[in-house]
Symmetry: C2
Subunit: 146 residues, 2 copies
Amino acid sequence: MIQIMKKEQQERKKQLHSMGSRATPGRLEVLSVLEKADRPLNVEEIKKRLKGDSLDQATVYRIINALRDGGLIRQIDFLKTHAYFELSDKHDHHHLICVQCQKIEDFTGCNFQSIVQKALKNSKQFKTVTQHSLELFGLCNTCSKK
Amino acid sequence: MIQIMKKEQQERKKQLHSMGSRATPGRLEVLSVLEKADRPLNVEEIKKRLKGDSLDQATVYRIINALRDGGLIRQIDFLKTHAYFELSDKHDHHHLICVQCQKIEDFTGCNFQSIVQKALKNSKQFKTVTQHSLELFGLCNTCSKK
DNA sequence: TTGCATGCAAATTTTTTGCAGCCAG
DNA sequence: CTGGCTGCAAAAAATTTGCATGCAA
């Protein structure tokens, strides 16, 4: 287990370096928090889950922005006023969100390659797509019974 | 032209009533602003485009939330800290967004019915999807040359 | 008439910024 | 070393709330 953790750490460091950033304890810990999370977290939630609330809020914001711009984490839209984040290496995985109780379920297989190809084929101003967002909103079984 | 405008007004009023809301001048005007917009707008932009900046900011927020919850407008995630909105009746239409210069291009044909069916088939907690978000992020031709 | 909508002002929440000191590379 | 990171404190931006008044249905 410890071995695995170390490998993951190494992997994170490489990723940070490849995006031209330094592998500081703060950044590694934010990544670790998101690694353990079972759902996307907002900035406040990330901050609270850090060991002893250790990082300054300004730092958390700066880290989040750097990681997002570097592509290590992904911003999710839950129709809230502020953003949520998750690791972007959980391959091609998206969410079903209940607009009533906010329940979140993952789903995979959005087959977006064909969507991207189609979109780019018809586009005059774009030739590459580096990321995408896809969320489905509805009512979960519990809420739809009410 | 005036005839057409009146028809649209009537349509809007019906939509508002069907979501259990009153058809006030403010709400109709917000819808009209979004109707004329060539791209999704944030709350501040909507407020500025109202005749003479007529509505209070608190009111604009309350209107936006009501229209979104009622399904008349759609919230778009541009990876910003705050949300953007557009009319939801522009059928099944999404965006290509340049992460560098924020250029926005529309694209259609996301064929999401098959995605939704697939997701629901594998879901234990959901049986219906009422809305979806799909945005593609990348670099536009101009920015990718830099 | 009557309860939903709005304006106004204030509070709260969320995000950003300047600057000095620190540490990963 | 040294330039990127961070903490601290303060400011700015975005969103919400309470209450009195007004208007759509």
